[in-house]
């Protein structure tokens, strides 16, 4: 299945602002994490500190099952203010 990933802040330096990832059906956030690390291992430390969002909600569990053509937002630690 195909997942559309959006990144923000410093994460863009590792993966670009948007990246399309192919995953096996019933893949989860953890599978997406592993795929991104595979694409750019240098981004692993920052990815470990990221929050993940789907449908305008933050996901609090890496086992969250993704759907085909789902949009996922990967958010490094915030620095507003």
């Amino acid at each position: 299945m195909r997942i559309f990933v959006n990144t923000f802040g410093p994460l863009k330096d590792y993966f670009g602002q948007t990246i399309t990832i192919e995953l096996e059906n019933k893949a989860s956030i953890i599978d997406l994490f592993n795929k991104l690390v595979q694409i750019n291992p240098k981004g692993e430390l920052l990815l470990k500190n990221c929050q993940w969002a789907v449908n305008n909600n933050i996901i609090y569990g890496k086992n969250y099952e993704l759907n085909d053509k789902q949009e996922v937002f990967v958010m490094p630690p915030f620095s507003g203010g």
């Binding site: 923000f8 937002f73 915030f78 620095s79 203010g81």
Partner: protein
């Protein structure tokens, strides 16, 4: 839902003029401005980006929670996105209560929570041409 993000300059006088409440004897305004240095390095300007819909949702929840917790008469917040020049307003928080104690405490609560929970990112543009994403909240180990 209310839009708390602004792509254009935040004029604090306009915001203060708009927000009044007859029961409020205390109006506390926090204004965060872009400063010209970061860790002793001269800064030319800042740039903010946000996950717009989620940031609006999170800030709205923070405002609601704070109004309830301190029984405020009203509270408001606006945060810039895009390029912010030195001494321009990056964020404004206004809290209104009957007495100053609640307005001060609530105001600090909002800005602290916003910094930690709202999906907004700051990039520093230095005078020497280099750039850096703010690492304030990034764990290094």
């Amino acid at each position: 839902m209310m839009n708390y993000l602004s792509e254009t300059n935040i004029n604090i006088i306009d915001y203060i003029d708009k927000i009044h409440h007859p029961k409020a004897g205390a109006v506390v305004v926090f204004c965060g401005e872009a400063r010209n240095h970061n860790h002793d390095k001269p800064v030319k300007y800042l740039e903010y980006e946000a996950h717009t819909s989620l940031a609006n949702k999170v800030i709205n929840e923070i405002i609601k929670e704070t109004k309830k917790k301190w029984k405020l008469h009203d509270a408001f917040c606006a945060h810039r996105t895009g390029k912010v020049n030195i001494s321009e307003t990056a964020v404004i928080v206004i809290t209104l209560s009957s007495h100053r104690k609640e307005a001060y405490e609530a105001n600090q609560f909002i800005i602290n929570k916003l910094k930690h929970e709202a999906p907004i990112w700051k990039k520093e543009y230095y005078t020497d041409g280099t750039t850096e994403w703010s690492k304030e909240l990034i764990k290094t180990e």
